[in-house]
């Protein structure tokens, strides 16, 4: 971690001097220095091998330290687990600095307590059209309601996660930031908005937070240094393989689940975790770092007129790779974002591109970004000849793809399974391919390896009480985690009832894992199953229609305490299913629309309504 003017109280000259010195120091020297500096301030003498946290504690005891509470609240709003992971990391760092951290999901946080909080740090992601994660919705609503308290004593900062290829980039983070300030809170560090490659900006934000807190206490800059060292120790304690250090897993099986004649292709992939020590639970996701399609890469190189073998930077540390390697493995080439277009416009001075980015062309820009990739860009704006060396480093790092895990680790020890629908479509006269799904479908076979990591997701977990009935709604590949759920229940011999709603286009070809559900139904692991095949009938039938047909029984299950799980398409299916649940509550429970909505909110708070939607 380098010191910068932006993340430290030093001048440019001081930063340069320190940056030259600090990397040369050994662990012992750093600790000695931090003690020395503290002692030099005349507060306490640190001798020997005192650890950094101790140093901080001693520092905080200093009479001239600002009267800042040592209590810090870290809240996260997480859909896929990234925010959760970052919030945990921040908490750990804060605890190492001697802060008393209360870490909690927004869904579990009692909003009445907000008034008492003095230091609040929020890590939150944004989904779809600028929407908060499910578990963050009630807190988001509360803050924006009249019931929200005045927060003059609050010091806070927000780390927002998002994706610049979406229009409402980091909207939820922005909402929280703005609202907390409106309510009287003081932003101790500016909000940081992270794109899909969030590791570095998130780490910088954490350092700023730690510095700000420590400075406010009159602590020395040792905090920043200390975090660097303890940070490394932390990741060791957790696991060798992670998002930033993926495990190369061998593919054990790669087959198409769709029968002949189907319009669809869905790959069932089995991967070996042998030797990784990676652990997961049903409901977790698997992250995969894919590679771009070689044909697209070659077309792009040709369109830009680049030399495939030219070396270009691929990392912040001056690492280099050939253009072709860089485009295959390091950079995203299938998605355009506004920031990227802006940078390219600046780099090339292209007037047409600049015009597209000007105010007044928002609609045109949005549709261009939605429909186009880099190859379109180079062709549409005649960018041939732009230097690879300058342009390529502007691209985003290729982001990992997350897939809901389709296996129970107890049913398949040492393995992890996923269910991936192959994405192929045509736009503007050219065939387009899902980066990861088509790589899996066309270019990977048993025996090949794939860089993966486990993404834990606490927001999609089987009920703690094994007797609790579960209702699972998962059309298409949304059924994947329920294969994990039922596998887990079968292995542990759980007695609770279960009900699965599944759907796709055609019964004959698209009934994913059909034989397995049939067996579980026969064995009683799955109590009942309802299916909807939309293209087999004159009128399209979807899962929500089957739910409504069974509204009486479904309501009875809810009244018995059933937990509801929804997995799959966010845009349409999840909304339709949500509305179906509301209708069932109104119809069978005699609830008003408001009461039905409250019922679902309360289910959500009790973790009895969990969604893994995308």
């Amino acid at each position: 971690m380098e010191l910068q003017v932006t993340n430290s109280p030093f001048t440019q000259e001081q930063v340069e001097l320190l940056n030259r010195l600090l990397p040369q120091l050994g662990e012992y020297q750093k600790i000695w220095l931090s003690g020395y500096l503290t002692a030099a301030q005349g507060t306490a003498v640190i001798s020997g091998l005192a650890s950094a946290p101790e140093a901080a504690q001693i520092t905080s005891a200093a009479p001239q330290a600002a009267p800042v509470s040592k209590e810090v609240t870290v809240l996260f709003g997480s859909q896929t687990g990234n925010s959760h992971g970052l919030a945990k990391k921040l908490s750990k760092k804060l605890e190492e600095q001697g802060f008393q951290v209360s870490l909690s999901s927004m869904g579990d946080f009692k909003s009445n307590n907000l008034k008492k909080v003095e230091n609040l740090f929020i890590v939150v992601s944004t989904h779809g059209e600028g929407e908060p994660p499910d578990s963050a919705i009630p807190f988001h609503e509360f803050l924006h309601s009249k019931r929200a308290p005045q927060l003059q004593n609050l010091r806070y900062s927000v780390l927002a996660l998002g994706d610049t290829s979406y229009e409402f980039f980091c909207q939820t983070g922005k909402d929280f930031d703005q609202r907390l300030e409106e309510l009287g809170g003081t932003p101790v560090v500016p909000r940081v908005d992270c794109d899909v490659d969030f590791d570095e900006p998130a780490a910088e934000w954490m350092n700023q937070v730690l510095n700000a807190l420590n400075l406010a206490e009159g602590a020395s800059s040792s905090a920043g240094l200390a975090t660097g060292t303890t940070g490394a120790a932390t990741s060791n304690a957790e696991s060798q393989y992670s998002r930033s250090n993926p495990f190369r897993a061998e593919i054990l099986e790669n087959l198409n689940l769709n029968g002949r004649g189907s319009d669809r292709e869905t790959r069932h992939i089995e991967l070996s975790l042998e030797g990784s020590d990676l652990q997961y639970e049903p409901g977790d996701s698997l992250g995969i770092y894919p590679e771009n399609h070689p044909r697209l890469v070659d077309e792009l190189i040709e369109a830009f007129g680049w030399n495939a073998g030219e070396l270009v930077p691929v990392g912040k540390n001056g690492e280099q790779q050939t253009v072709r390697e860089a485009l295959l493995r390091y950079y995203e080439i299938t998605v355009l974002t506004k920031p990227l277009l802006t940078q390219i416009a600046e780099l090339t001075g292209h007037t047409g591109l600049k015009e597209l980015l000007n105010a007044g062309h928002e609609e045109a820009l949005r549709s261009y970004i939605n429909e186009s990739d880099l190859l379109d860009l180079v062709q549409d704006y005649q960018l041939k000849g732009v230097s690879a060396d300058k342009l390529i480093p502007l691209f985003r790092k290729i982001p990992a793809r997350l897939y809901s895990i389709a296996s129970s680790p107890n049913a398949y020890p040492g393995e992890v399974h996923i269910t991936v629908r192959t994405v192929r479509y045509e736009t503007k006269g050219r065939n387009r391919y899902g980066v990861c799904s088509v790589q899996l479908a066309e270019r990977l076979q048993s025996g090949d390896e794939l860089p993966i990591y486990i993404q834990h997701n606490d927001n999609f977990k089987l009920p703690e009480n094994p007797e609790t009935p579960i209702i699972m709604i998962g059309p298409g590949t949304g059924v994947a985690p329920f294969r994990a759920f039922l596998g887990e229940r079968e292995e542990s011999g759980v007695e609770g009832k279960s009900w699965l709603f599944y759907g796709d286009q055609h019964f004959s070809t698209d009934f994913l894992y059909q034989l397995e559900w049939q067996k579980w139904l026969k064995d009683g692991v799955l109590t009942r199953m309802d299916v909807a095949f939309s293209r087999d009938t004159d009128k399209k039938v979807y899962v929500q229609h089957r739910m409504l047909e069974k509204s009486k029984e479904l309501y009875a299950w809810l009244q018995e305490g059933a937990a509801v799980y929804v997995c799959g398409d966010e845009k349409k299916m999840a909304h339709d299913v949500h509305n179906a649940l509301l209708t069932i509550l109104e119809q069978e429970g005699g609830l008003s629309p408001e009461a039905a909505a409250e019922y679902l909110t309360s289910l959500q708070q009790q973790k009895r309504y969990q969604r893994d939607v995308y």
Partner: protein, 571 residues
């Protein structure tokens, strides 16, 4: 296995199929319930047994079995639906209905069967009700198209003697409806009919609650054509015509094709002519024959349950006596008759009253559209303007029948437009060929049949041409298993599947269908088939007597002995 001398099968314990029938409450079983199960496209085997009586049975695409299992998908279960029409006579509207349901619920093809019925394939369980309702609404039925009952009554379509056809066809229809099951189950399950609450009441005056021990087949032939293969029928009627008037029928009993490989107690048999009756006596005679089989047929061993074994085990004299007792009258002596052939004659013929008939060659009875042969579309267009009827022949061909002189031009134009063929450009061998459906849908198939015979003929035809036999009629048939759907035991050359790519080769059936053939080579592949046939064909071309048919020649030349009864088929 079965005991050939079993004289009192009723004392042996019934087979499990009898048990299913007993429990079914007149063919209801739990069909309604299992049809509702949306998690599988299959129905349990017991219910499938009952389904047959309703005219359908479950199959799966065997080509896809292993592949789908790997894909974690159940087999591609589907239902074959058989629609029967006595004598294979249907109206243009009924033809259009078949065309429609095959496209909306089936695989877009229709199979004309060797019993003058229709089959459509690939019907999913949840579409069965809608499909059967459409059939019913067009006044056809699937009831009793399969199952242990009297099947579709066959009748010579006889385009060149349409007055005789009208008289004979009338009796075919009467027989058909008289022997139709009376249970209300069909209406309840498929047609939303009211449920019969008291099932104790007598529902099947002829069949009883157990129905027959096995399927039962009736066919009516009009000499000189034996196209219905009257000697393959459990009960056959040979029309006796004097001065253009039907005076009655010779009656034959105890024919049947099915056998089991490796079980010599099972064999194909030709029916025996036992006498003559008048047209008015036909219904009574058929009913009593059916009740004798009902009471004496073997219900313990299904392979031994066909009427032919009842007759052979007890002797035809016993049957004639029993029949006389039940009828209260005896048969007259059989009248002379003569059969010339069992194949079809193709092309236009003029019948009575200035009506025309066009017999169309349909390879293996399959109606479908191919890129270069729009057979199905052509027939649909003809059905739209045709004012006569369609007649399915016993050889899986089709007659566009009762065409007026005015319509003939239009139909000729459509025939030309779609290149529909009278088969003239095919070899006579191909025109006399028949294959059963077999793979991939038939669960019994051991080898290919419909998908293979055409290409085998491609290879036999050059041998015939070399020997100048291209236009000589030779009856050739193939089945994928020994159950005999294409009546292979009566062909001059026939192939019965033993395993993938392997067939038993039989020779020596008669051209008119009154003599069984005999095993010539066992379990051979294509090369050996061609090697075996080549010298025989060559010798036949050189040494045959005037008008001598291939089946007769191979016996005279000593390739196979003559088989005079099914009991000597394996000897």
């Amino acid at each position: 296995m079965s005991d050939n001398n079993l004289l009192s099968p009723n004392s042996a314990p019934y087979s499990d199929v009898e048990d299913i029938k007993i429990r079914s409450n007149y063919l209801r079983g739990t069909l309604e319930e299992v049809l509702e199960d949306r998690i599988t496209a299959s129905i349990p085997e017991d219910e499938n047994r009952l389904m047959k009586f309703h005219g359908s049975y479950m199959q799966d695409d065997r080509d896809l079995r292993n592949e789908r299992k790997k894909q974690k998908l159940e087999p591609a279960y589907q239902f074959m639906l058989r629609v029967r029409a006595p004598g294979g006579v249907v109206t243009p509207d009924q033809w259009l209905m078949m065309d429609r349901i095959s496209h909306s619920y089936g695989n877009g093809t229709i199979r004309l069967t060797t019993r003058q019925s229709f089959q459509i394939y690939n019907v999913l369980k949840w579409n069965m009700k809608k499909t059967i309702q459409e059939v019913h609404n067009s006044l056809l039925t699937t009831l009793a198209a399969c199952g242990d009952v009297n099947r579709n009554v066959m009748c010579n379509p006889n385009p060149d003697q349409s007055e005789i056809h009208a008289q004979v066809y009338e009796w075919a229809c009467k027989l058909s409806s008289h022997l139709e099951p009376q249970t209300k189950a069909y209406h309840e399950i498929w047609l939303d009919g009211e449920k019969v609450l008291d099932s104790k009441e007598e529902q099947e005056p002829i069949y009883g609650h157990l129905y027959l021990p096995r399927k039962f087949k009736i066919g009516i032939a009009v000499p000189p054509s034996n196209d219905v293969d009257v000697f393959s029928q459990d009960l056959g009627f040979i029309a006796i015509v004097e001065q253009g008037k039907l005076i009655g029928f010779n009656v034959s009993v105890g024919g049947g094709m099915g056998m089991t490989h490796g079980d010599p107690n099972t064999y194909p048999q030709v029916a025996k002519v036992i006498g003559f009756c008048t047209p008015e006596q036909v219904i009574d005679l058929a009913e009593k024959t059916v009740t004798i089989q009902r009471d004496y047929g073997d219900r313990a061993v299904r392979k031994h349950a066909r009427f032919k074994y009842t007759i052979d085990d007890r002797g035809v004299e016993w049957f004639v006596e029993e029949l006389k007792n039940r009828l209260g009258w005896g048969l007259e002596e059989a009248r002379p008759y003569h059969f010339e052939r069992n194949g079809d004659r193709y092309g236009w013929v003029k019948g009575n009253k200035g009506k025309w008939h066009f017999t169309l060659f349909i390879q293996n009875g399959r109606i479908k559209d191919e890129e270069d042969y729009q057979l199905m579309t052509g027939l649909r267009e003809i059905a739209k303007i045709h004012t006569g009827d369609f007649r399915l022949t016993a050889n899986q061909n089709l007659i566009i029948s009762d065409v007026t002189t005015q319509k003939k031009k239009q139909i000729e134009a459509l025939v030309a437009q779609y290149g529909l063929t009278n088969g003239k450009h095919y070899s006579a061998l191909r025109r006399n060929s028949m294959a059963c459906v077999s793979l991939p849908t038939c669960g019994l198939a051991m080898a290919e049949s419909e998908r293979y015979l055409p290409s085998l003929l491609d290879k036999i035809e050059p041998i015939l041409e070399t020997n100048g036999l291209r236009d000589d009629d030779i009856v050739i048939r193939m089945t994928g298993c020994p159950n005999g759907c294409a009546r292979p035991a009566l062909a001059e050359i026939s192939f019965i599947g033993k395993g993938p790519g392997k067939y038993n080769l039989y020779l020596g059936g008669s051209f008119s269908g009154n003599r069984l053939n005999k095993l010539y080579k066992e379990n051979i592949g294509e090369t050996e088939i061609l090697d075996s046939l080549t010298p025989i064909i060559k010798q036949y071309a050189i040494e045959r007597n005037d008008g001598e048919h291939f089946g007769d020649f191979v016996i005279r030349a000593g390739y196979v002995p003559e088989v005079t009864s099914g009991q000597y088929f394996h000897v």
